[in-house]
Every structure is written in structure tokens, then in C-alpha cells.
């Protein structure tokens, strides 16, 4: 009796565990089925052209690719120092009492719905940007990147902090015994030891930024312009996610526009796949390496 019960529960858990693989496969299959026809229906040279204006059948996705990349890269440039800095502070410097306030606060930041951040972005950040930097408009890639940084910082902090926490205390003790200062320990011992974990944190932050939709749609202005140097950071851009979100509602299912939107979905899916695979492979490498160190 007991054995049967045990077996049943094991099976239920097994199904629950493997269901996410099934879901990923279904999503992937669905995306491919709806998106791949775009490659045959639109000439490749048209698909990779520079003008996106779907109601005239202009399906150039380059502006959308460049928009997403600009916003993501810039948001990571902001989030990386802030996020890793916070993680170092929490892990190495801050006294326990400060951590008790700091950690829940960061979790609250993670919990703020992105639409609320977008709303603040429109009302506060965008006018501020326009006035301080004397821009034509405050609805720019930079405004979006700033909001995305706020959104990805909690992810970066929590994973980077785990990585720092995982550095064995023996490393630190050894360094202190040699007479190193606190800063020397952090910079020369802890950070190098936690390097791959921090890289993972950044990769997941990139994934978070790339996939975010609502906040960027509200503050980047959504103008499909192609990257044209540093100017693009302070100009309006249109991201892939915002395009799918704002246009999916209007398209007739099965139309050309519909297939192209799904094709953009495939591109996003592939990007996040690459990011996840590369971050988990650095994670695997790290555990293998630290095990090797332990043995030696």
C-alpha cells in the first residue's frame, strides 16, 4: 500500500517536473508554425530592410532589432555597476541591520509592476530628461533603458549576491592573513572567484531587459528608426516586444503581418535561448571548476 502511494506521488512530481519541457516544446512549435511562413512570404531583402510600416506591407525588421539592442545594451550598462555594487555591499560590507532593510527593499523593487514604472516614466522621467539634456523629446531609448535598468537590477543583485556568498570564507581569511585590506579582498579575491556567477547575473538581466514590453512601449516613443550612432540613444526607438504587443491585436490571423509578428517572436525566443544557454553553461563551468579546486 505504502509503496503504491509512494510510486503515485513520485509519478505526479515527475509529470509536474517535466511539464515545463512540454510547454517550451509547445510554445516553440507554435511559434515556428506561425512565424516561419514569413520567410517565404516576404522577400528576405524586404524583411531585413530599414522601414517598418505594416499597413503598407513594409516589413523591414532592422529598426526593431536595432531598437531592442540599443535599449537592452544601454540598460545593462546602467544596471551592471549598480546591481553588482549592491550585491558586493550586501555580501561583503553592509552590517546585518542594514541588510535587513536593504534586501526586502530590493524585493519590493522587483515586485513593482512594469506598467507602473512606465507610468512614472511618462509623467516624471521623460519631462525631466527632455529639460535636463535639452532633447527634442523625452520619449527616448535612454528613458526606456533607465526603466529597464530598474527592472533588471533586482535580478542581477540576487544572483550576483548568491555568487559572492558562495565564495568560501577560507579564501577571504587567507587574503586577510596576508595583510590585504577589505577593498583588496573584494577586488582581487571575491570578485574573481565569483566572476562566472556575476556573468550569469548579467546575462539574466539582459534577458529580463530584452523581454520587457510594457514599460518600454510607454516611454521609448516607438518610432521605428535604425541605429545611426550615439544619437540613437537619445532618440525614440521601437523595440520588438513593443511592436508585437501593440500590433498583435489588430492583425487578422493568418495574414502576412501576423506571420511577420510571429517571426519577430521567434527572434526574441532565439535571443533569450542563447542568453539562457550561455548563462547556464558558465554556471556549470563554475561548479566544475570549484569542485576541481576543492580536490586539488
Amino acid at each position: 500500500m505504502k509503496r503504491r502511494q509512494e510510486k503515485l506521488i513520485t509519478n505526479i512530481i515527475r509529470i509536474a517536473g517535466s511539464s515545463s519541457i512540454l510547454f517550451i516544446m509547445l510554445i516553440f512549435f507554435f511559434l515556428m508554425r506561425e512565424g516561419l511562413p514569413a520567410l517565404t512570404e516576404v522577400k528576405l531583402s524586404d524583411l531585413f530592410s530599414t522601414r517598418w510600416y505594416p499597413i503598407e506591407d513594409l516589413f523591414g525588421i532592422l529598426p526593431l532589432l536595432s531598437g531592442s539592442l540599443i535599449v537592452t545594451v544601454f540598460s545593462i550598462l546602467i544596471a551592471l555597476p549598480l546591481g553588482v555594487g549592491t550585491a558586493i555591499y550586501i555580501g561583503e560590507i553592509a552590517p546585518k541591520s542594514v541588510n535587513e532593510v536593504l534586501k526586502p527593499t530590493i524585493e519590493i523593487l522587483a515586485g513593482i509592476p512594469s506598467v507602473v514604472l512606465g507610468f512614472l516614466g511618462i509623467l516624471v522621467l521623460s519631462p525631466l530628461m527632455r529639460e535636463t539634456f535639452n532633447l527634442p523629446t523625452g520619449l527616448t531609448a535612454f528613458t526606456g533603458a533607465f526603466l529597464l535598468a530598474l527592472i533588471s537590477i533586482p535580478t542581477i543583485v540576487s544572483i550576483a549576491e548568491d555568487a559572492i556568498y558562495a565564495v568560501p570564507n577560507t579564501y577571504r581569511d587567507a587574503a586577510y592573513a596576508l595583510g590585504a585590506s577589505k577593498w583588496q579582498v573584494i577586488w582581487n579575491v571575491v570578485l574573481p572567484a565569483a566572476r562566472s556567477g556575476i556573468l550569469t547575473a548579467v546575462m539574466l538581466g539582459v534577458g529580463r531587459s530584452l523581454g520587457e514590453t510594457m514599460a518600454v512601449m510607454m516611454v521609448t516613443g516607438n518610432a521605428p528608426t535604425v541605429f545611426r550612432g550615439l544619437d540613437s540613444f537619445i532618440a525614440p526607438v521601437r523595440t520588438m516586444t513593443a511592436t508585437i504587443a501593440s500590433e498583435m491585436g489588430e492583425v487578422a490571423s493568418g495574414s502576412l503581418h501576423y506571420h511577420v509578428l510571429f517571426f519577430i517572436g521567434i527572434i526574441l525566443f532565439v535571443f533569450s535561448l542563447i542568453i539562457n544557454v550561455s548563462s547556464s553553461s558558465t554556471l556549470a563551468k563554475r561548479t566544475a571548476k570549484s569542485r576541481a579546486k576543492m580536490v586539488s
Binding site: 515545463s20 509547445l26 522601414r51 510600416y53 516607438n222 528608426t225 501593440s246 495574414s255
Partner: protein, 298 residues
């Protein structure tokens, strides 16, 4: 643990919503079984406030009827009508031939009703010294041929062009009647650095805050905090500000009808509701909200 749990939840949601897409009939059919009568009304963002006001008033007088009104854009409304998720589509543009084809494929003929009239106001920030433009000037601004207000006799500021998203009926109307000046052969489109904002309110708020901006919106949305530009169809012609008066007498150059579409000839409660919308009582609400009532009621 936490992350994988939320990932799982997300996948479930995704799957559920995918299922929802596959059988759109559900929501349209199930309400009929209860004693209450439901009308699902969706579409144009221009029309959404007006449709809400109508629905509220009608539900007050007829508690047995429930009307749900949502926006999303004219294109969204037509798609939902074609897919059968709604009974009544709001639109700020006429139905396209492709959409009629789709509807016929799904076994019905969309029927059009003109429910109100609207003017498109071209708006700028109150600090902008420009107060009148010809349609051709507006067209050249949006095509990207003018890039500084100085070229139009204003101050030395860059022009920031604002537009609704492409799923908006107002966007399509503006493209055809203003950017292309009503010419069918003209294939010019908006300059690519035109900001496409997801809502009418977004345009109003950016124009209110930004002295460089120019935008357009339905007359019903325009607030005191932005400045309407008087328009002329020809350089010599009179510059006209949009108002109920100038729309009714045909002076204001960019005015249009607002529509509701039904699946086939409407029957029962939907017919009654549409008849009421045409009545003087409902058309009074049109005036209250800053739109222009349909002429036959006067």
C-alpha cells in the same frame, strides 16, 4: 525555486491564452443562456468614451441589459467582430475590403451604422507660436520635409511628430486625408522618426508637456491644456478651427464619420440599442463629449 515556479505559471497562462484564441466563440455564446442580455462592444479608441457613456445611460434605463465596452483600436474591433468574440464593433474608419472578405469567409456580411461625427484636431503646445497651418504644411511636417518650427514661421525648435499606432482608425484616416492629402495615387507615408504612441491620452500628455511636439487627436479628446491649430485646405482659403459648428457646416477640412458594425443585419436587443443610439437622447451625449451629432437628428 521561486523563479521556476513563476516560469511554470507563465507557461500555463500562455497556453490558456493560446486556447482562448482558438475558440473565440465561447465568450459570445455563453452569455445568451442567462436571463440577462449582454452586448459585447469593442474597437476604436476614439469612440470608446462615447460608447461607454451610451452604455452607462442605456443600462441605467434598461437594467436587464449589460453592455461591456472596450477599446483597442478600430482594427482590433474588426478582428474581434470577424472572430465572433463581440456583437458590435466601434470604428473610426470604414471597413477595409480585406476585412469584409474575412467576415464573409466567416459567414456574415458586416453592416455599417454611422453613429456620430468627429473632427481630427491638429494640436501643438500652448507655448508654440504657430496657430494656423495649411493641410499641405501639416502633410509636409509629417512626411519629414519640415524639421524645425522656424521653417514654418515659428521659433527655432525641432519638430517632434506624434501619431497614434497603426492599428488606430485615426492613424489611417490621417494618413489618407492629411499626409496623402486625399490622393489615392500618393504612396507617401509618415516619416520614420514619427513617434507612435499607444493611446490618445499619450498624445495629449506629450503635447501638453513638450513645446516641440505636434500631434493629432479626435476633437472629443482635446483638452484646454493644448492648443488647436486652425487649418486651411488651400493656402489662400480661410483658416478654420475645429468645432461642432464648423464640422456640421462642412468648413473644417478633416472631419469624418464614426461607425458601429454588426454581424449581418442586427436583430433583437442590438437593433433596439442601435436605434436608441440614433435617437435625440443619445445624440445629446455625443455633443456633451465634444463630438458632433449625426445630422438626421436635428
Amino acid at each position: 525555486m521561486n523563479r521556476s515556479a513563476s516560469g511554470f505559471l507563465f507557461s500555463v497562462l500562455l497556453l490558456l491564452s493560446a486556447c482562448g484564441l482558438n475558440n473565440p466563440q465561447d465568450s459570445a455564446q455563453s452569455p445568451a443562456s442567462s436571463s440577462q442580455t449582454y452586448i459585447e462592444n469593442k474597437g476604436s479608441d476614439t469612440l470608446v468614451n462615447l460608447a461607454l457613456a451610451w452604455a452607462e445611460k442605456y443600462q441605467n434605463d434598461h437594467p436587464e441589459v449589460q453592455i461591456s465596452v472596450t477599446g483597442g483600436g478600430s482594427g482590433t474591433g474588426f478582428t474581434a467582430l470577424i472572430n465572433g468574440t463581440i456583437d458590435l464593433a466601434n470604428a473610426s474608419r470604414g471597413i477595409k475590403p480585406e476585412e469584409t472578405d474575412e467576415a464573409q469567409k466567416n459567414g456574415f456580411e458586416p453592416t455599417e451604422f454611422i453613429v456620430a461625427n468627429d473632427a481630427i484636431a491638429v494640436i501643438v503646445n500652448p507655448l508654440n507660436s504657430i496657430s494656423q497651418l495649411t493641410l499641405e504644411q501639416v502633410s509636409r511636417i509629417y512626411k519629414g520635409e519640415y524639421t524645425n518650427w522656424l521653417e514654418l514661421g515659428g521659433e527655432d525648435r525641432p519638430i517632434v511628430r506624434l501619431s497614434r499606432e497603426t492599428n488606430s482608425g485615426t492613424h489611417v484616416y490621417f494618413l489618407e486625408e492629411v499626409v496623402r492629402l486625399g490622393s489615392k495615387d500618393d504612396k507617401s507615408i509618415f516619416s520614420s522618426d514619427t513617434l507612435l504612441l499607444p493611446s490618445s491620452e499619450g498624445i495629449i500628455s506629450e503635447v501638453r508637456d513638450n513645446p516641440n511636439a505636434i500631434g493629432y487627436d479626435g476633437l472629443g479628446y482635446v483638452t484646454e491644456e493644448v492648443k488647436m491649430v486652425a487649418l486651411a485646405s488651400t493656402p489662400g482659403g480661410g483658416y478654420i478651427l475645429p468645432s461642432a459648428q464648423t464640422v456640421k457646416n462642412g468648413q473644417y477640412p478633416i472631419a469624418r464619420h464614426l461607425f458601429m458594425y454588426t454581424r449581418g443585419q442586427p436583430e433583437g436587443i442590438i437593433r433596439t440599442y442601435l436605434d436608441w443610439i440614433m435617437s435625440a437622447e443619445a445624440q445629446a451625449i455625443v455633443t456633451e463629449l465634444g463630438f458632433v451629432p449625426i445630422a438626421s437628428q436635428q
